[in-house]
Subunit: 298 residues, 2 copies
């Protein structure tokens, strides 16, 4: 189980549409898909709109602003093109998900969550990349929204949607598990340490650096466990498990409120959601939850 | 071996300097490091300058343009700050590495390669992000070069260096290995299939999609093998091994010249570099080489 990537049991992963990437580079095919049968994903800014049946709300292209840039999300099972409209101005898009958003998404199926997550990242990226970072000229959407192109004939820089890899890791020593508290967490919540992979780092380098920086713990062996797309705004969470030989902590208080070693029994009890648990475990939609579950199953 | 991340045996990985991220957010500390003892990484555009001893060439901050933006690479073992200068205009930076560049780098140690790779990605990113993608105003380097900030007081958008996750994968069926030829490859070279992870995808999703798109092969189980930073311009290569149950190929000729199933004996022979091998294997600096080696060792 540990080396084999687990099936898409995580929110936002697994895929919901045929991405049909050959369509993106084929303007005629793309235009022919933008017909009266095409589906428009309804969004409230970049938040989802939930249909009466609890799924994503879809409309037709007639519902879109005729001037709006359109992103091609992929093909539905019946061959219809699925699209989303780029909202001109989005505020607070990089904020982490709030309880209201999670409540709204709680009725969505795995496939709907995957469609929505991909659309959210993409629409948000377009809204925040209307100008060329190289020359400052306006950019325009091309290839069905999987690229933006600088409109300055002397520049013509190509820009691609971002995916930011993040390592998220549990650390084990003497059968206990190291978890941390970020300042923004609700009271008593502890979860896996995490941080963005930086230019010039492999995954293992990033895991070692983050654990050393945040908790002062030196890590030996590192294992890959699982991954999850996380559309806030466009992270790729890569979950790892690391082994340390010394439990002494030096906590970076600019990053963490606290870090603590928990026994297997404390982690097991917290994962039941018991009120008298030593801490409140990360919620099921986060890959950290599955990392703890994976560790308990070892 | 397969689930445990291998030690940094790959070019550009493993880390060469203490990144000292607490220094980045501390302007006083950063300024105090920019003294006469500080080291300046010499670059030819974004290519490395090789010292007479075969290592990276370093100078002092006195060698830099006083107007140039400076990137803080980290601390050397002796505590000295290491910096690189942002070259105002870099051409052709996204081109894949050429034989001349590889020859120049052939004398560098693993630590030097890691330092150079990280610096190359970072300097290149700054050169291509002088303007705010949100509002078109000029941006300026902050936090020792680990961020750019929009200078427009009404925008103030924060921009971070990119790391683009790429899956690279061998596919196995009936004991044979699927490899492909990209049009830009030298004659007879075959290597692992590869592609960027897209917004809304987990690693396993991306592996399945790429193999289906490029070769028409449906993949079941996927395993993580290893990762490598790849500074052309700023990829994170994530090497996986996938299992298929059907060898029928439908090759996407817009992506690949060819794809082919090779026997274990053919792969083994190619990895010796023999002239009569069925194909020319990927070179040792590429993670695909290690993916083939890993498979032969199974």
């Amino acid at each position: 189980m540990d080396s084999v990537m687990t099936p898409p049991a995580f929110a936002f992963g697994g895929g919901g549409l045929d991405r049909a990437d050959h369509v993106r580079a084929d303007p005629d095919r793309l235009a022919s898909l933008m017909n009266w049968r095409a589906r428009l994903l309804k969004l409230d800014g970049i938040d989802p709109v939930i249909a009466p049946d609890g799924g994503l709300q879809w409309g037709t292209l007639a519902d879109a602003d005729p001037e709006a840039e359109m992103v091609f999300l992929g093909l539905a099972d019946d061959g219809r093109g699925c699209f989303a409209e780029v909202t001109p101005r989005i505020v607070g898009s990089v904020a982490p998900p709030n309880p209201r958003l999670w409540a709204a998404m709680s009725t969505l199926s795995a496939a709907d969550l995957a469609i929505y997550g991909g659309a959210r990242s993409l629409v948000d990226w377009h809204a925040r990349h209307r100008f060329c970072a190289m020359c400052s000229a306006p950019t325009r959407l091309v290839k069905g929204g999987w690229q933006r192109l600088c409109t300055n004939e002397l520049c013509k820089a190509e820009h691609y949607p971002r995916v930011d890899p993040v390592t998220i890791m549990t650390v084990e020593c003497d059968g206990e598990l190291l978890l941390g508290r970020q300042p923004r967490f609700p009271p008593r919540r502890y979860s896996a340490l995490a941080g963005f992979v930086e230019p010039g780092e492999g995954l293992e380098d990033a895991v070692r650096r983050e654990v050393l920086e945040e908790a002062g713990v030196k890590v030996g062996e590192v294992r890959y466990v699982a991954s999850q797309p996380w559309p806030f705004p466009s992270s790729l969470m890569i979950a790892c498990h690391a082994y340390a030989t010394d439990k002494a902590l030096t906590i970076d208080t600019t990053e963490l409120d606290d870090a603590h070693w928990f026994t297997r029994e404390e982690v097991r009890h917290a994962m039941t959601g018991a009120e008298d648990a030593a801490f409140i475990a990360p919620p099921p939609f986060a890959i950290a939850h599955h990392l703890l579950k994976w560790w308990l199953a070892q």
